[in-house]
Symmetry: D2
Subunit: 251 residues, 4 copies
């Protein structure tokens, strides 16, 4: 690496001078492109607004409940849903379900094993909603009116963490959506996998920092990991209050 080093050193110098890369001031200097919401091609996308994450009887509440309460996740999701409906932004929900045949998979990651073990997001059959109402796989009651208003698009379930295995990208494109306001559960798993996959699919993604929450485990803070990655990868990152203000400006 000899030939280009002078040019490159000069590039680095310029970057340093502009404050982008000095460790001590880098975040302030990190570019913050932002997403300019526009009425005709922006949508709200919410992952896993389901009881198993958000209800105190949900099977994952033990690991995510503290983070849900700290972030006021439920109230913030309500604000996002309600504002989106008020200003006529299309809303898409990407749920997480497991059917009996999914439990026959030959392998999985750590949290996949846990989810299967504790019956998270379980449904009886892909073509049967018996026992669904009020179950851990069902919508959190406070969000259900927004999801079941006859306008919200409920996609097929994602099956690991990302939308690679469902129709979210297609549904967004078939409605002309290019920009996504992203929220839901859980921050560093399904929400982040949706963020990354949507970015790879060429969407502009704005992540709502406190309309999500994550597992807190010893030495592992899922929400912090998600925010670090969202700050670096997403096009925009802001809290619910700021996001709702920007959405209202579309009216």
């Amino acid at each position: 690496m000899t030939k280009l080093s002078e040019t490159r050193k000069s590039l680095i110098a310029t970057a340093l001078l502009s404050g982008l890369m000095i460790a001590g001031t880098a975040q302030a200097g990190l570019p913050d492109p932002g997403v300019d919401f526009t009425a005709d091609d922006t949508a709200l996308v919410v992952t896993d607004p389901q009881n198993d994450f958000l209800h105190e009887d949900g099977v994952a509440w033990g690991v995510v409940g503290e983070s849900v309460e700290e972030n006021n996740t439920i109230e913030n999701l309500e604000s996002l849903f309600s504002t989106a409906k008020d200003v006529d932004l299309p809303v898409f929900v990407s749920p997480h379900y497991y059917y009996p045949h999914d439990h026959e998979w030959h392998f999985g990651g750590a949290l996949e094993h846990l989810m299967h073990e504790i019956g998270m997001f379980d449904r009886d059959h892909p073509l049967d909603t018996d026992n669904f109402d009020g179950s851990g796989a069902d919508w959190h009651a406070s969000l259900e009116p927004y999801i079941e208003d006859g306008k919200t698009v409920v996609t097929s379930p994602h099956k690991v963490y990302g939308p690679e295995s469902n129709d979210l990208v297609l549904q967004l494109r078939k409605r002309g959506i290019n920009k996504v306001i992203l929220a839901g559960m859980s921050a560093n798993l399904c929400t982040e996998s949706h963020m990354r996959a949507l970015v790879e699919a060429g969407f502009e993604v704005h992540v709502v920092s406190d309309a999500t929450a994550a597992a807190t485990l010893p030495d592992m803070d899922g929400h912090e990991a998600a925010m670090t990655n969202a700050r670096m990868i997403a096009n925009g990152l802001a809290d619910t209050e700021t996001t709702v203000e920007a959405m209202k400006a579309l009216r």
Copy 2:
């Protein structure tokens, strides 16, 4: 959420008793499925083993250099490459390049903006390697002998962070690979996006914790974020020493 709550509470109780979900002991109790390396369908995959990340003159050294040195990333990558070649595991490298036309993109995330701004991974033309030799986009010199041995598969470049825009998944499947030992740069960006996309594509993924490194910025530790997410999402996670031992057992 009334009907199923008794059953669910009992499921949670079982999980709690088995130590999976008590915050204080959860990581110890978190499932650790692991990847059982097998000679005929396991491969080493390395992301971005390039000067801009790994050489002290590279344009990103200012933000990742400290982490590269702390992890001994270069030496650990050498160990993985060398062991894979010794035991005849197929090796795949997924590089990161930007061509002049990529700088015309209409939008990008924070780190995308930074990469374009500092000329990271820049090449002159997709069909021209003038000025490539020794550039920031070129392989780190200590790894080049392994990559250019005539056997390693060099995929097309990924263009954001993940392999969605290159041929890595196809190349792996066309060689019968189902299990991936994953390392390279940088931990929470390209390496993690590869981990997530490979998991969604149905591979078993084992992440090597110290054969990677990441940006350290104020309030943002990229390596820590990556390890939190790898521990939860990947099928296996271990350091280079442990991984190399497991690879050697294939001989």
Copy 3:
């Protein structure tokens, strides 16, 4: 194109001599790699075994009925399902459903427009199977016992023609499947899009020529188009009788 022309002309000559490229004998000479079915990693995949295609009251019967009868598609699908169950091959069904929100899409291709217009594969709601039983979206009665035996994996619906918008690829990989015996409806639309997408995802695909059927329109023979493309693209192509014999050899 001067430098390599001598070498290339000689390559062409060799190919011509080996009978691969002389128009008059090319098909005989076209490589026919075939798929070697193996018990642990082969599956049967069936697209759209639904009333709207296969039942005389189905909304598409007017355009596909003749082809369904000529090919004995229903009987042949029964043979494939029945043989797969007998020899314990995993079976996956990829259905086609449209929900009310799908009719709000901003654009579509010619046959998409037609499907929406005639209410093909319509369901009332993604989380509701009211009015589903016996509808055009429901399984053809003769195939239902195989699909609803508690073992067959029913994927999420594909939404245009291919499995890009559902979980088929993930479901196959999570069960260790590398080879697919492909049949169902309709030959040049969903079945062919599944063939192409599965080939791109690195599966070996064997197409069953007469366990499918297609629209016959003036100057457009869907089945013929599908067979031309399957002969060129798939790894194997054979009729039901031959395929069933090869499946039985796995017992």
Copy 4:
């Protein structure tokens, strides 16, 4: 299928009356949505404009040459490229290359075997263009000025037939493209796989019927198969003359 049959029969009747589904008049009655080209989000995409298909010394000329001449494919591609440049439409080229490591794949379809066997699209190395100039993998000379004008986006190579293994979709989305005018080689293989994958990715696709060509083999007319499928699947289908007129209207 009893409950809904009366409603469905009436739907079919309506469709029949409107002429959509009577075999004898169906094509005339088949919906023809069309793509309304718009200056800011439409692009020209060309697959495989390379010597091995288009030059009389190309290794595939023996099977496609007749169709290339009948369609005036080269002249029509020139018209499309030239018009796109005149009216400032972005142009994307998706090439096809095979590197030495690709010949180590464990399996392939019929035409994949043939391509590998005759050295089609062969390059020496992914990071080396020695011997490329004027080779079968190089651009056809008459199209090169348009492709190498410093503005055309040359994507990474696709590796089987579709863009699933390259960055075409990302490149289009990063430029705000929603509508694609599709042409190139060969009609029922790479071009059609691009058409299908782009449709699944939520683009509107207009196929140019005679700016493509295909293999003609005994009992297999690749161009005819492609046109049947394009008529049914694409959003628009027209010849070069009509397409060029519509493009010129954007000026």
